[in-house]
């Protein structure tokens, strides 16, 4: 039988983990943990619910960072005015997780700790070059989310010893835009055949200053297309450049065949289309709008 504890603070949560010597586990929305427990994949002696810790429940946009607490749900994320209007890749990824009654409980931090190669939240985090604040008995530190994935289903964050308290990413500035594309066997309530998050910053002259491209499931962990990103730097963001970026990714990544979803070949065929589409939309969003120019 599993104990259930509602932690009042991060400190208390960590104390409970400590007490159980690695046999207690952090839980936020529970949408993955409950299923994993029913299926016998995990059997913690104690679950530590962090969703009522006040400091973990807020989204803040302060100075150069947007900071999202670990107990914030995907529904709260995609309904947050700043994120909905300015951070499309995150808002749209948050809307892609399962369906609304799952988004109302599931959290971004929990999605990242699950460490699945196509987790929508993880792909969006990579596209935003997000960082996670990891707290444990030794203290707390920020780490790039990208460094937290070990292999499918295994995170560098140990939920029996550590807790992600916040995720943060830079407040968009300059000519910045982002986009999200996703393909699945149906339009909702489905794991992705392919998902792709992109963010893009342009120079004043319209060329690419920085591109970030993330995809899943095309590798054992959420994939960042660094070669394609490097290729795009300084280029004019047009169809030819996007096609070349797609080719580079197709040559570099290694998707698998999953019998219930799609073949490797189909995923490889899909990659250039999805990447180009995301880059095109992100570019449009990064370009100074007519309205803004008038203002």
């Amino acid at each position: 039988m599993t104990h259930y504890r509602m932690a009042a603070s991060v400190e208390e949560a960590l104390e409970i983990l400590e007490e159980h010597g690695g046999e207690a586990r952090i839980m936020a929305g529970g949408t993955d943990v409950m299923v994993d427990m029913h299926k016998g994949r995990i059997a913690p002696r104690c679950l530590v619910d962090i969703t009522r810790i006040p400091e973990l429940r807020a989204i803040s946009v302060e100075g150069e960072w947007v900071q999202v607490g670990a107990a914030v749900t995907f529904a709260e994320i995609h309904r947050h005015p700043f994120i909905a209007q300015r951070v499309h890749v995150l808002a749209e990824a948050a809307r892609s997780v399962g369906a609304l009654p799952i988004q109302t409980a599931a959290t971004w931090a929990g999605n990242i700790v699950q460490a699945m190669p196509a987790a929508d939240g993880a792909i969006a985090a990579l596209a935003l070059q997000a960082e996670a604040r990891i707290a444990d008995a030794e203290g707390a530190r920020w780490k790039p989310v990208e460094t937290l994935f070990v292999r499918p289903g295994v995170s560098a964050v140990n939920p029996c010893r550590q807790v992600i308290t916040h995720i943060r990413f830079r407040v968009p500035s300059g000519l910045w835009g982002s986009a999200w594309t996703r393909a699945g066997r149906r339009e909702s309530l489905v794991l992705p055949t392919l998902n792709c998050g992109v963010s893009l910053r342009l120079h004043e002259d319209g060329t690419v200053a920085e591109a970030v491209i993330a995809l899943g499931p095309v590798a054992p962990t959420p994939y960042r297309a660094r070669d394609a990103e490097a290729f795009l730097r300084g280029k004019t963001p047009d169809a030819a450049a996007f096609a070349e970026a797609g080719c580079i990714i197709t040559g570099d990544c290694n998707p698998r065949t999953s019998p219930a979803r799609a073949s490797r070949e189909y995923r490889l065929a899909l990659i250039p289309e999805m990447v180009a589409q995301a880059l095109e939309v992100a570019t449009r969003r990064a370009q100074p709008s007519v309205e803004a120019a008038v203002r």
Binding site: G30, M34, L100, P101, I102, M274
Partner: protein, 919 residues
């Protein structure tokens, strides 16, 4: 580790003492008795039936640990409104026909309530997004979206509730479902919701192997599990270990020495005090298997050296039709199309899982309450297993969460009866969703080889057809599949020559059985796509081509005889012609404008005929009674698993008697109280049982008029019925209460119950089991599909459906049947596929969601039937037939290459687009 959890539930403070890790769903249903919240998956958040509001926010109660609700507010469907004070959403769901089986309804209502609280003026898109996580298998979602729009408008004060229904005529006017207030408030008790103190729990030991010999079954360790009371094996079957009346080669439990033939085959039953103990018992039963080579492909199973699955070889049944000289007709043709079409295993995926409750009734009968298409048949199949007479067994149809043919399988009733027989105590069972996918019968996958010939002037000539149906491990009611495959596979067309052969072949795949359309959607898909290939080859028009070749009412068909009911195919095609032309023109214009993009629109048309003909003796009976309270009671067996037949029966009785629906009480589908109406499916209930009910109430009316005429001193012909009264002519002063007439009949010793029979034996002399009355309904659909030729993703944007139903008794529910069938057909066309060894449940079997739903237009073409009640024919299955071929024809035309296998996944569509030279 129990904890005390206090929260607000439906406005009242409650405290429960429980393990905080249990799901809120289980606490609500089991501890608090609120069974309105449903479980449709294995606590994985896949279906949405368990959606409740937590502080006003919709959550999956199956993923919510009870500990999380401490101090918070939970709202369930029971708290939304009650039957006397319905919430506007509940009222709107009732009035728009948004409820069929009702199993998804509570979750739909709660998701909708959360939306309207947040957004009183939602767009259609907002509604779809709010409901995209709630699966529904019956309605096709259209009516649900409409209901939410209506409720939102009413709550904004914009639309006044429609009070006209109560005064309307029973047929065509008063359309509310008979038990709708209970369904929309979570009060309806489905099998899992029925309280039964002291009930034991049963779970099934199933084979993990597709093919293996059972060497030994050791139950000792299972019996040592705390709470386990009994483990039943084949040795415990007192009668015959067989359900051969339904499935000629299927055992109830595979005995030691026998072979399991599919994953999910049942080997033992574990009965325990709790579901958990039963599950632990299942894990502890030790079955020694000797694995055998398995064959999953029917063409491999036909090879001379193939592994024998059954003693008599791997062919279950065959059927052939020869008409004229097909070879000569094909040889003389100007154009010949050869094509091979393939379909997949499909799963019914009803939102209610299989469930049964067994007990011994007050008369000592072994009684099983479980979803069925014909309780008398299930009784007759179960009794021999127990070595009992049918009269010692009783089967009762409960409110049921969808069937689509699935609940025709009698295994569950037989197994539950066996458990009650041994335990002499109530026993209940509910499958897991995984188990439902493993063990329930599927739709037969087909391989159809077509050769079709035509002349340059667009007249069809010859048809050669070869169908191989994969029946999986067992007959499972699939014996007659070859006949259905061929009859549908030739269609309502005039052929000079036909040479058709079909066979049903065993494999070690899941057993295939009854599913909406029984063996006809697959071959109709292949036929209508092959015809479209021919039409494109000839440069012909899809509507005109079909009209030119359509069978006429009185001609001898390629089956060798004329149809015996009115045939509306030409009228259907005429009705859909303008809509096809308009959509086709719009798609052309669209494609012109998108020439430099990957987007293409395709428009496809497909037709169908569907035989709702009865087999065996063409005679069906029902009864009607005048109750002592003066109400009319109708007795029949027309199981309602969500399609709405109970409402139709009451409408027909009320209309025939000239009284309101409130004057009618229906006793339905209980072997202890109703006759065997012999209608296990095939869309026959309205026509046959409805016909018998109309005759029964007509006969009853005559008896009542006779007695009343004596009492009122007027001729029987002058007696007028008015709900609870009878009058002499129009004279309201010379009237009696019907209860007084009933009392007089009682005094006279006259029976108040009479039988009515729809008997067409004179029309069909010498009919035997394998001959079907040639009764057909027809229809045609147009699908518009938007295809991304770069990714292969397709979205069905619009479907127009024209169907000849004879007469729509309940037009709103009839529309709901068509919409539901179209969305189910869309699933088959684009996404649904059960892959043995891969598919486990809703997480990898993709049924359409609200987001998948196209705009649907329904056109009813009412060509009255000759013999059906008020001109009605059959409807439930037929509308699924044209959907997949219409969609596939649309996609094939859009991408310029033929897709010959469904589901047309994005992957297959992309391959076709590349073949078509679009990329």
């Amino acid at each position: 580790m129990e904890a005390t959890i206090s929260f607000t539930l439906n406005g009242k403070a409650v405290t429960v003492r429980t393990d905080p890790m249990r799901t809120l769903l289980e606490v609500l249903r089991n501890d608090l008795g609120l069974t309105g919240t449903k479980q449709g998956c294995d606590l994985e958040g896949e279906c949405g039936a368990c959606t409740v509001l937590l502080d006003g926010v919709p959550v999956r109660s199956c993923l919510t640990p009870a500990g999380k609700v401490e101090g918070r507010e939970v709202l369930t469907v029971e708290g939304l409104g009650d039957p006397d004070r319905l919430h506007p959403l509940q009222k709107a769901f009732a009035e728009t026909g948004a409820v069929q089986c009702g199993y998804c309804t509570p979750g739909m209502l709660m998701s909708s309530a959360a939306l309207l609280a947040r957004n009183p003026n939602p767009s259609r898109q907002d509604i779809i997004e709010a409901l995209e996580g709630n699966l529904c298998r019956c309605t096709g979602y259209a009516r649900i979206i409409t209901a939410v729009e209506l409720a939102a408008a009413q709550m904004r004060g914009e639309a006044s509730p429609d009070g006209a229904a109560a005064q309307a005529r029973p047929i065509g006017g008063d359309l509310l479902r008979v038990d709708i207030a209970e369904r929309v408030t979570g009060r309806t008790r489905y099998v899992e919701d029925m309280p039964m103190p002291d009930a034991l729990h049963m779970r099934v030991v199933r084979s993990p192997h597709p093919h293996a010999r059972v060497v030994a079954v050791d139950t000792q360790k299972a019996l040592e599990v705390s709470g386990v009371l009994r483990v039943l094996t084949a040795a415990d079957i007192p009668g015959e270990n067989s359900i051969e009346g339904y499935s000629k080669d299927e055992t109830v439990l595979v005995p030691v020495g026998g072979t399991v033939k599919m994953v999910g085959d049942a080997v033992a039953l574990v009965i325990a005090a709790t579901p958990e103990a039963a599950q632990a018992g299942v894990a502890a039963v030790e079955v020694a298997y000797e694995p055998l080579p398995a064959v999953l492909d029917p063409e491999e199973a036909l090879a001379p050296d193939a592994v024998p699955i059954h003693a008599d070889g791997n062919v279950l049944s065959t059927f052939a039709i020869t008409h004229g000289d097909a070879d000569a007709a094909l040889a003389a043709s100007d154009a010949v199309v050869d094509a091979t079409y393939r379909t997949s295993y499909l799963e019914h995926a009803t939102i209610e899982r299989e469930a049964a409750l067994g007990y011994i009734d007050e008369e000592g009968r072994i009684t099983v309450v479980s979803g069925t298409h014909e309780p008398h048949w299930h009784r007759d199949f179960a009794a021999p297993v127990l070595g009992l007479e049918p009269s010692q067994v009783r089967v009762i149809m409960p409110p049921t969460g969808g069937s689509f043919g699935k609940r025709q399988d009698p295994w569950l009733v037989a197994a539950t009866a066996l458990a009650v027989y041994h335990m002499r105590r109530p026993v209940r069972i509910a499958y897991t969703r995984r188990e439902s996918f493993d063990a329930s019968p599927k739709r037969h996958p087909y391989v159809c080889h077509y050769t079709v010939g035509a002349m340059r002037d667009g007249m069809l000539t010859g048809l050669r057809l070869r169908v191989t149906a994969n029946t999986g491990a067992y007959d499972s009611g699939g014996y007659y599949i070859p006949n259905y495959a061929i009859v549908a596979g030739g269609g309502a067309y005039r052929w000079r020559g036909v040479d058709a052969f079909a066979q049903s072949v065993y494999t070690n795949g899941p057993k295939a059985g009854q599913m909406r359309g029984y063996g006809t959607p697959q071959s109709n898909f292949a036929l209508e796509c092959t015809l479209d290939e021919m039409i494109q080859r000839l440069g012909d028009d899809p509507v005109e081509f079909r009209l030119r070749n359509a069978i006429a009412q009185h001609e001898t068909t390629w089956l060798g005889y004329p149809v015996a009911e009115s045939l509306g195919y030409r009228q259907v095609l005429e009705a859909i012609r303008p809509r096809y032309q308009a959509l086709e023109a719009a798609a052309r214009a669209f494609n012109e404008g998108e020439r430099n993009t990957p987007w293409r629109k395709g428009v496809g048309l497909a037709g169908m005929w569907y035989r709702f003909g009865k087999y065996g003796i063409p005679r069906v009976a029902a009864e009607a009674e005048l109750g002592l309270d003066g109400r009319f009671i109708v007795y029949c067996s027309a199981p309602d698993y969500g399609q709405g037949i109970a409402t139709v029966i009451v409408q027909l009785a009320a209309e025939t008697l000239g009284v309101s629906r409130d004057a009618i009480r229906l006793v339905n589908a209980d072997t202890a109280t109703t006759l065997d109406s012999s209608v296990p499916g095939a869309s026959r209930a309205t026509y046959w049982v409805g016909g018998a009910v109309c005759r029964a109430v007509t006969a009853l009316r005559e008896v009542v008029a006779e007695v009343a005429s004596e009492m009122l001193d007027c001729p029987p012909s002058a007696v007028v019925l008015a709900d609870d009264r009878v009058m002499a002519g129009g004279d309201a002063h010379r009237s009696l209460r019907l209860s007084e007439v009933a009392a007089e009949m009682e005094r006279l010793g006259q029976s108040r119950k009479v039988m009515g029979v729809l008997d067409l034996r004179a029309q069909f002399p010498n009919y035997e089991r394998e001959v079907y009355t040639p009764h057909f309904v027809t229809g045609a659909q147009v699908a518009e599909v938007l295809v991304n030729t770069a990714t292969g993703q397709a979205r069905v944007t619009h479907v127009v459906a024209a169907h000849d139903v004879g007469r729509a008794i309940n037009p709103r529910d009839a529309r709901g049947q068509v919409e539901g069938a179209i969305v189910m057909g869309l699933g088959a066309a684009l996404m649904e596929e059960f892959v043995p060894g891969v598919t486990t449940g809703f997480s990898n079997y993709y049924i359409p969601t609200a987001k998948t739903m196209p705009d649907i237009e329904v056109i009813f073409v009412e060509v009255p039937s000759y013999q059906g009640p008020f001109g009605a024919k059959g409807l439930g299955e037929a509308p699924i037939l044209p959907t997949a071929p219409a969609i596939i024809n649309a996609i094939s035309r859009a991408v310029g290459a033929r897709i010959r296998e469904i589901p047309a996944t994005p992957e297959r569509i992309l391959a076709a687009a590349r073949q078509g030279g679009l990329r």
